[in-house]
Subunit: 226 residues, 2 copies
Amino acid sequence: MKGKIFIIEDEASIVQLVQHNLEKEGFVVSSSLNGNEGLKELKKFEPNLLLLDWMLPDLSGIDICKNIRRDSNFKNLPIIMLTAKGEEEDKVKGLESGVDDYVTKPFSFNELSARIKAVLRRSDPKVVANELTFEDLKLDRIEKRVFRADKEIQLGPTEFRLLEFFLTNPKRVYSRDQILETVWPNNVNVESRTIDVHIRRLRQSINIEGKKDLIRTVRASGYSLI
Amino acid sequence: MKGKIFIIEDEASIVQLVQHNLEKEGFVVSSSLNGNEGLKELKKFEPNLLLLDWMLPDLSGIDICKNIRRDSNFKNLPIIMLTAKGEEEDKVKGLESGVDDYVTKPFSFNELSARIKAVLRRSDPKVVANELTFEDLKLDRIEKRVFRADKEIQLGPTEFRLLEFFLTNPKRVYSRDQILETVWPNNVNVESRTIDVHIRRLRQSINIEGKKDLIRTVRASGYSLI
DNA sequence: TTAATTTGTAATATTTCTGTAACATTAAAA
DNA sequence: TTTTAATGTTACAGAAATATTACAAATTAA
């Protein structure tokens, strides 16, 4: 079962892009272009998550947040705020007023989608898929287990996240930088070659008993899951 | 296995109270604030029991009841009706239209919970077990007893709640924060490392005589019941 | 009240994980 | 073939996370 997402955002082009893509992913989406109306509609709609623009013509994001958190029925509604580049201060205020995550405009839909799922996974796991599979590889996000050909495999936390990352987009090649950005906690600085070592560790763990190597090295580009 | 309960009730505050508490008891709960939509969602959700408000803005409880009883898939769905004080006549009508029990508002959650269990025990005994089990572990919520391999085990109150929590969702990994939120009384502030100590105490108690450890440590994530 | 049990924390021990550097190997370019 | 660049492999020290222990404060039972 996929969840319901409500969008409050005044740039129609963004709403359109996001709404369309989320619906393609199976979410039920409703939206409003302004704050006051949005609040009312939202409460009727009862979403599992709210995407909230921080700079609205009528109401500020903070006001909306406060209103929502005050309403006992929506106290726990996960909120992701959309903020324009550089409004660092807003991020702080946002996180203080109980926002769950934020995405800086301009953003790629993939980035937004990943954050939505991460937030939902925490707050409302049943609305989001928990098993990732590829060929005979299976990763369970809830139980934090990995299997290859039905045999359980032990992975360290970083290898787990790395595999999780590859599994969300099999076959796609990622550069070391992209991997770093996504798999490592923000503002951590690690040598890009470090990834090679983790790739090796991951390979060693998942390529059991003569099973073929599921990780492909793409010289000068990066790595991918086959 | 705990059952699924659907709620059709237009007072959001009641829905929230009931839903939250039922979920805490391990039921899977879904709800709707109005009759027509509720009927549709209910049929998708396939609950083991329905809590039905008798006075809805759009459809009357009777109509919903009739609709349900006419549908061969839900002919036997147990229904508990929620009725406002003094509407004696409704009770009669309700029982006539095949309601299994009724609860008069305002009600305490405990009262409702007891009735739900009573009705389920009659109609679908396997969903109400007051006993939670996992492998050779057994916990009786009523008698507050715990057994491993049929030998009784003494647990302190906190260890009991902790084990109870794990047993409602075996295999699932919980972070220390999640454990804290659920197992500890609200607004108590305890160090997150404290959980490690309680985990140890729990382990020490339930892993008797060389029996395997039933609690799994998942580095960087938390703990789970195997 | 006293005794017994339970609880949270801090201190210490242990285990596991991580990042890096150094060296080896492989593939591409010259 | 030789050279060069990129990736593979290994070992290891420091870091991080968890396990264990002991103890004092708080709670409950006797």
